[in-house]
Symmetry: C2
Subunit: 340 residues, 2 copies
């Protein structure tokens, strides 16, 4: 394991441009009080030597790394993944580098492990994607110690630094849409209920049904996959309870559900209207094109990075939760109730 060769340092640049290392440092950090002529000479030397300031050394003395960590859960799923990508671009735009770490199990322990791993980097802040209720979120803030933490895609209504999409709102939008189309027998295929979003969508569906004076149809939970949508729909059919509309927790499960319904001789949307959630880029090309909910993940990314940077600047800033509202996208998978 050969040691990398000697690196170009401040001193090399200083020597070449005939000034002290401190002056070079000043040029790099664009401090005032450097003569124009000197600055240019130093800049030329930097370029000539292809010098790059050593961030480890800088971070050692400044105690800042200009780096944020993202601890992510659920990268196999559309929503969490989109958040990651949008956070990366927002962080980069803000001049921060990103250390990326996933956790495969959503528990305080596995989070603590991830934080432990990153502790030595002394990152300036942490964004965590925590869409499932594996743990008390307060404990996560504690585990981060004095490092600012922003949670995203987490439990709504917590008074902690976080950015969430109001999933219940989306679910209400889509359930009302179906009700307004004249459907009264509405079944549900929810996501796994230990996910905050799935729970919120499920509760909102229930509540919206009750508010409308309707008896909620049968409900089954899946695991977000198309396969579970397929199997969930079969389970719903097996209950024998008739329904003319099916509210599904995400687009993939809706895809599986449509398949199951058709295999049972039911037409979609004529016999059963089906809705999704997420608005995958493909959703418009499903058969039929899916009525669904669109969530603006790029705003989530921007807001969370903004919030984190604010907290880095002032760790004592009051905790707030930013809430983003989704939008209804109506396509051809939902039609007015046609009668039995």
């Amino acid at each position: 394991m050969a040691k990398p060769s000697r690196r170009i340092t401040l001193n090399d640049v200083a020597r070449l441009s005939g000034v002290s290392y401190q002056t070079v440092s000043r040029v790099i950090n664009s401090h005032p009080y450097v003569a124009q002529e000197t600055r240019e000479r130093v800049l030329a030397a930097i370029k000539k030597l292809d010098y790059h300031p050593n961030r480890a050394a800088k971070s050692l003395v400044t105690r800042r790394s200009h780096t944020i960590a993202i601890i992510a859960f659920g990268m196999a799923y559309y929503g969490p993944l989109q958040m990651l990508l949008n956070i990366e671009s927002a962080a980069k735009a803000a001049g921060y580098d990103l250390i990326f770490s996933t956790v495969s199990e959503m528990s305080v322990q596995s989070f603590r492990d991830a934080i432990e791993r990153l502790a030595g980097w002394h990152v300036d802040g942490i964004v965590a994607i925590t869409p499932v209720c594996g743990c008390n979120t307060d404990e996560l803030y504690v585990a981060c110690g004095s490092t600012p933490l922003v949670l995203i895609d987490t439990c709504l209504g917590q008074h902690v630094p976080s950015v969430v999409i109001d999933q219940g709102y989306g679910s209400r939008l889509i359930t009302r849409h179906v009700i307004e189309l004249g459907h009264t027998a509405i079944a549900e295929l929810s996501g796994p209920l230990h996910w905050y979003g799935a729970e919120a969508r499920h509760s909102a569906w229930l509540q919206t049904m009750q508010e409308a004076g309707l008896t909620p149809g049968p409900s089954v939970a899946g695991d977000w996959s198309a396969r579970s949508g397929y199997e969930g729909a079969l389970a719903l059919l097996k209950t024998g309870v008739r329904f003319s509309a099916l509210v599904v927790g995400n687009d993939q499960m809706a895809l599986g559900a449509v398949r199951a319904l058709r295999e049972h001789g039911l037409r979609v949307p004529e016999d059963v209207s089906v809705t999704g959630y997420d608005n995958l880029p493909e959703a418009a090309y499903f058969n039929p094109p899916l009525t669904t909910i669109w969530q603006d993940f790029s705003i989530v990314g921007q807001r969370s990075v903004e919030m984190l940077i604010d907290r880095i600047a002032d760790p004592a800033a009051p905790a707030e939760q930013r809430v983003i509202y989704p939008r209804l996208i109506i396509r051809e998978s939902t039609v007015p109730f046609q009668g039995w």
Copy 2:
């Protein structure tokens, strides 16, 4: 911007456990020649103080960061994304932290910018996901200087440290499959041809057709999206050239294509067999379930991290390209030619 409070250091641990800082360092790095009793005392102190070695300081003196950077292009697409996720888990398993950076444009310049940004971290190695031919790959290796670089999802047949999937192989598999089903009029909807993978799949389709003595049907290029699949299929239909099978560059485009074909009164698969590429988790639940190609991205992730680690250990190790072969998944979207 308050400076973070003083941190726990080796010295604090040393003082608490009544040894020198060097001994603490030895315990942390599990050097031999530390008395069992001392080791335990130090460990206890570390735990008690919740001490974490400062990685910046360590990296400064060792000139290694135990960190690798991943520079990624095309995170909006399934393949590149899967590679990213698999690299993350492989890197973590190997004890490396990951700095994550995306580039939105595939050019030497934007790559150089990304490398420039990371240069100060002195990462131990770099993995770059470069699925499109924006630049001469040699230049990328040059841009990385002495930092080991492994390219993935890049041009096949280059004698540089890289891991690629033989996309042409997959395309041959699927084209042959369609030919064996008796189809002779086979059209193609390719991906954007400046992507290495799309080009490879396209050429292999052409070649396989010719080898079988068949005249290749019309071919149109899309941009991987379902929308472009839809529009591409419309364009193919507009040519007026009849085809009984359509080989599509990925699953999403296949989805759009199926939709377009059906809108034109063609049944899938009875009138036109359609194939995809990627084997999205949803592909089995498309209508009809899609015959497609499966690629083992987790192997790509593992191999690339292995290769990078080897090169970190010995930068002069001979360059090699690891090639991974995909597999054919037959589903219901392809059926024997039914006659016109």
